[in-house]
């Protein structure tokens, strides 16, 4: 990938969109998910996603982009996220967040780390590494809830695999723009 500064800002701004999207998905699902333990789990993780978005948004500013610069991914990825956000049953919602989205986002972050310089871009690395640690905790927490609720949260693993394949098939998600799109003062 060999990213230049502007492209790094665009990646991080796209990641920020993804974290805000996750936060809003969880927020919409909290009142519409009946199971109290799942509702509470999602409520906890709203704050995690918000903190991730906040840290990424502060880092975009350091990369000469606006504070909390947020860049929507390419339309195919937006469509995929909208499709997932429309799911209504609890088992599928839990699968989508914890078995699909978190691993998928983690893979996107890892890809970024592999293509950036860990010294020159160390502040971004720190932000992303903390996000990945949070993801591991979040997935551990869902396993605790799954153990507590037992059969009620057992989902179709084939469906998760199918969703994951569809997500991975969208290889490019960042909408790279012209230099002017990152000028200071452009609203995020």
């Amino acid at each position: 990938m060999g990213l230049i500064v502007r492209e790094k800002a665009e990646y991080l701004a796209t990641f920020r969109w993804m974290e805000v999207c996750l936060m809003e998905m969880l927020a919409r699902w909290v009142p519409t998910t009946p199971e109290m333990e799942v509702k509470v789990l999602m409520g906890r993780h709203i704050w995690d996603a918000a903190q991730h978005a906040d840290a990424l948004g502060k880092r975009t500013f350091e990369l000469r982009a606006p504070l909390h610069y947020t860049l929507a991914p390419l339309p195919a990825y937006v469509d995929k996220m909208n499709e997932l956000a429309s799911i209504e049953d609890t088992v599928s919602r839990v699968q989508v967040i914890y078995d699909l989205i978190l691993p998928a986002f983690a893979a996107r972050y890892q890809e970024y780390l592999q293509n950036s310089d860990s010294l020159l871009d160390e502040p971004s690395f720190r932000v992303i590494e903390r996000i990945l640690i949070d993801y591991a905790r979040m997935r551990k927490e869902v396993e605790e809830v799954r153990r507590e609720l037992g059969e009620a949260l057992v989902g179709d693993s084939a469906r998760t695999r199918e969703w994951s394949q569809q997500e991975r098939a969208i290889s490019q998600i960042v909408a790279h723009g012209s230099g002017s799109t990152l000028a200071r003062g452009v609203s995020a």
Partner: protein
């Protein structure tokens, strides 16, 4: 359809339809359907208190989450506060549920009500929702919790008392950020004052109709319910209520003499 845009009618009043609950819960549509006990600190009454509180905290979580969903254009710093509130309320639910189970209780053991959700989500501005949920309901809970932990401690239940004290410190933060943001939003757009005033009037009228008590103004009956435990003046100061606002609350709650002498926490 958003959860906040569905409607129900209770005693002729249009309110936001209930959020999702498991089948084990019986959802009451008024105070008369809730369970109360003559001995308010008997074993079963203690479980009912925890069960009711657990559902109230669930409602607070849902309201904060719904604000995030309904107002994506809100300032990011305010959204961060709402996200933090969702996290805090989630922890409160878990702590109360853990305690309920320790005392032999279970989910769905008693009826629950979703009044706060039903009223708050009728408002179409974030300022009005913050005014009702955080500045009124949560501030009222601050008053309750200010005295309640002492009652639990007096019967030897240190564990529950400690839970309530921890919940109280979180609620102070939720009320404070709401007070600060409402002021800021109203300064930027004076028309919001009308929205907030209208929302408070709707709350008072709805409360009066559903409880069968006369409306006593914007802060109305919620303070009457709390008057036995008093107004938590110290924490209201921490939550950024002005002295004038605290004095007005004391006056409305029948403690005007304290207000007249300048209440100290």
């Amino acid at each position: 359809m958003n959860a906040s845009s569905k409607r129900k009618t209770v005693q002729g009043i249009t309110l936001c339809a209930d959020p999702a609950r498991e089948e084990c819960f019986r959802v009451a549509q008024g105070d008369s359907e809730m369970q109360t006990f003559e001995d308010s600190m008997s074993e079963v009454a203690r479980r009912e208190r925890l069960h009711r509180h657990m559902n109230n905290e669930t409602g607070a979580l849902e309201i904060a989450a719904q604000c995030l969903a309904d107002f994506p254009e809100a300032p990011w710093d305010l959204r961060m506060q709402l996200a933090r509130q969702a996290f805090d309320e989630s922890r409160h639910v878990r702590a109360l549920y853990r305690r309920l189970r320790q005392l032999g209780g279970r989910k769905g053991e008693f009826p629950i009500g979703n009044f706060e959700w039903a009223v708050t989500n009728m408002c179409d501005t974030l300022a009005a929702r913050l005014a009702i949920q955080n500045r009124t309901f949560e501030a009222g809970q601050m008053d309750l919790l200010g005295g309640l932990h002492k009652i639990w401690r007096s019967i030897g239940d240190e564990t529950t008392a400690e839970i309530l004290e921890h919940i109280l410190v979180d609620e102070v933060n939720h009320v404070r950020f709401a007070n600060q943001w409402i002021r800021k939003m109203v300064e930027e757009d004076r028309r919001l004052l009308l929205k907030v005033a209208s929302a408070m009037r709707f709350l008072a009228e709805t409360n009066a109709k559903l409880s069968g008590e006369p409306s006593t103004g914007a802060q109305g009956t919620s303070f009457e319910h709390h008057s036995k435990l008093g107004i938590n003046v110290e924490d209201r100061r921490h939550a950024d209520f002005s002295d004038a606002e605290i004095n007005e609350i004391l006056r409305q709650s029948g403690m005007g003499s304290l207000a007249a002498t300048g209440a100290k926490g």
